[in-house]
């Protein structure tokens, strides 16, 4: 029971991810009535869980390299600090991303625990935040050109195009949900990986590892978020912020899904390395910022009219402010949890006394 209490902050992060980020995948489709909400919610939930359980390990490993939280109470507080940061910044209408918040919170734990932050891992992560929207914009621009050429050449009837687009939005949406689960489960459950006490379960000859069980729980929390809260976010996305045609929406979701997949796929990383190609780092990126990059690509394809550069500036500022705020909240709350609630948040190194005969043996050797 206590374990669930400690996991609750991660599950809350998962719920909030489902509530907000599913709209990046199915928002325009549902908002423009191309896909029914329940169809979108069922497809998104199934594939987000699959993505998390099957391919979630890659990005989690990168977060683990940044800082290995080694006590469950610490992991609880790190996830809670990230969740509070996301909640607070959303309230203030500031652009925020769970990925950036969790990285800040882990760095906060490193500072609190007196452990050195792996600067190499940190720069790798930060560079992907910048790279991911740019890559999404490039994909979007490319797909837009290809789609336009296809539509000009094939002369598809408006009714048939509508049917193709609907199917495309569901299929690509499923891929997007899978990629979201694979890429972002690290944010939700990554900090609990080394501390959650789940034993492997053998089922019909398959081993269901502890980490997979943890990711399944996280995936289910995301699914609950999708069913309980994402509808209103989807309708806002579909009707308000950016007006996209269903075909442009399909391009946006496709570009976004590919980018999330590229930054999450271990299989692709192995393939690239085996062909002596530079591997794409497996890092959790912000699906909201990737989707903004994709929409920007459509804007560029239309000649760059109507692009609001102030919005882009605000996002860039979030790359710095979000992790800093999360790190500060994490540091302070870890201090409180340890000193006020008397919970051990950092595992200290065990010192064992070396016996006298061994001491006499090793001291002469320095």
């Amino acid at each position: 029971m206590l374990i669930l209490l400690f996991l609750s902050s991660g599950l809350f992060l998962g719920w909030s991810l489902g509530a907000n980020d599913a709209s990046n995948i199915f928002g325009t489709a549902v908002g423009t009535k191309m896909v029914k909400f329940y169809t979108a919610a069922i497809v998104a939930s199934i594939f987000v869980v699959l993505g998390a359980v099957v391919s979630g390990a890659g990005t989690t490993h990168t977060l683990g390299k940044l800082g290995a939280v080694n006590m469950i109470a610490g992991a609880f507080m790190v996830a809670l600090a990230a969740a509070v940061t996301v909640f607070w910044m959303t309230k203030l209408s500031l652009p925020v991303s769970t990925s950036q918040a969790i990285v800040g919170a882990i760095v906060g734990w490193n500072l609190f625990a007196g452990k050195e932050t792996d600067i190499h891992a940190l720069t790798k992560i930060a560079s992907t935040w910048v790279m991911s929207p740019i890559l999404a914009a490039a994909f979007s621009l490319l797909f837009f050109i290809i789609f336009k050429k296809i539509l000009e050449k094939w002369k598809i009837h408006i009714f048939r195009l509508d049917a193709y687009t609907r199917i495309g939005l569901i299929v690509v949406g499923a891929f997007g949900a899978y990629s979201l689960g694979a890429n972002n489960i690290g944010n939700v459950m990554g900090v609990f990986v080394s501390v959650a006490p789940f034993a492997n379960i053998d089922l019909f000859g398959f081993t269901f590892s502890g980490v997979e069980q943890l990711f399944l729980l996280g995936g289910l929390a995301i699914a609950v978020g999708i069913f309980t809260y994402s509808k209103r976010v989807m309708l806002t996305v579909g009707e308000g912020v950016v007006k996209l045609t269903p075909q442009s929406a399909l391009i946006v979701v496709l570009s976004q899904s590919i980018v999330l997949f590229l930054f999450a796929s271990k299989g692709l990383e192995t393939w690239l390395l085996s062909h002596n190609l530079p591997a794409i780092p497996l890092v959790p990126v912000s699906s909201s910022q990737v989707v903004i990059g994709s929409v920007l690509g459509i804007g560029l394809a239309h000649g760059g009219r109507g692009i609001r550069f102030r919005v882009l500036g605000k996002i860039a500022s979030g790359w710095i402010t979000t992790p800093i705020i999360a790190a500060v909240i994490s540091f302070i709350s870890l201090f409180f949890l340890q000193n006020v609630f008397a919970q051990q948040v950092v595992k200290t190194a065990q010192h064992t006394e070396i016996e006298q005969p061994i001491q006499t043996e090793i001291i002469p050797h320095g």
Binding site: M34, E152, F159, R160, R166, T245, P246, S248
Partner: protein, 213 residues
């Protein structure tokens, strides 16, 4: 299943556009019959255009109901509905004109017959180009403009022909004022068909921009 429904809807839309196109041809023949005093053929064509109008109405209602009950083409269904309703006005206008000819039986002097014939031809051409533009909107939006400018061309041409006809009618010294007004009324009525085709073209010009990805 989804493609079967789509295919059926495509066929219905094609059939609706065929009805408009056919009603233009029937209208032209009807006017010609009337001007040549072939009243039996004229009445037959009037019945035919009434049948076409009814069938087009049924198709339009059917397509509209399916678009809304099945939530198809949610982005453009309002535009498609508006286009179908304004195109329906074109057939209605053509049917009303033949029907009024049948009821009022205006006596058209020999010298004005070529003018009416030319006007009817030009109006029907504007209808035909309008149908081509509508077909292009469904399949090939980039080509819509190529037809729209022809619709505008024949609408202007019809206005010019109608004006010439009216001037000739009113400059006649042999006709009574009541007869002149009666003849002008029919010139105006025929010309209005091209105006309705122009209304469809105006809508198409905007909807085509919206339809691009």
């Amino acid at each position: 299943m989804i493609f079967k429904n789509t295919k059926a809807l495509e066929l219905q839309m094609d059939s609706f556009l065929d009805k408009i196109s056919e009603s233009g041809l029937v209208f032209r023949r009807g006017v010609k019959n009337y001007l040549n005093n072939e009243f039996a053929d004229f009445e037959r064509h009037l019945e035919q255009i009434r049948g076409l109008e009814h069938e087009a109405d049924e198709l339009r209602k059917n397509i509209e109901t399916r678009l809304y009950t099945k939530t198809l083409v949610p982005e453009s269904r309002g535009d498609i509905l508006a286009l179908m309703e304004t195109s329906d006005d074109v057939i209605d206008r053509a049917t009303d004109t033949l029907s009024e000819l049948s009821i009022e039986r205006p006596r058209i002097p020999e010298e004005f017959i070529p003018g009416y014939l030319e006007l009817a031809k030009s109006v029907v051409k504007s209808m035909e180009e309008m149908v081509k533009a509508l077909r292009a909107f469904m399949r090939d939006p980039l080509n819509v403009r190529n037809y729209l400018h022809k619709v505008y061309h024949f609408e202007k041409e019809s206005d010019r022909l109608a004006e010439d006809l009216k001037r000739n009618i009113f400059s006649s010294t042999e006709l009574e004022l009541s007869q002149k007004i009666h003849l002008r009324y029919f010139a105006l009525h025929i010309d209005t068909i091209a105006d309705r085709a122009e209304d469809v073209a105006d809508r198409l010009a905007i909807y085509t921009i919206k339809r691009s990805i």
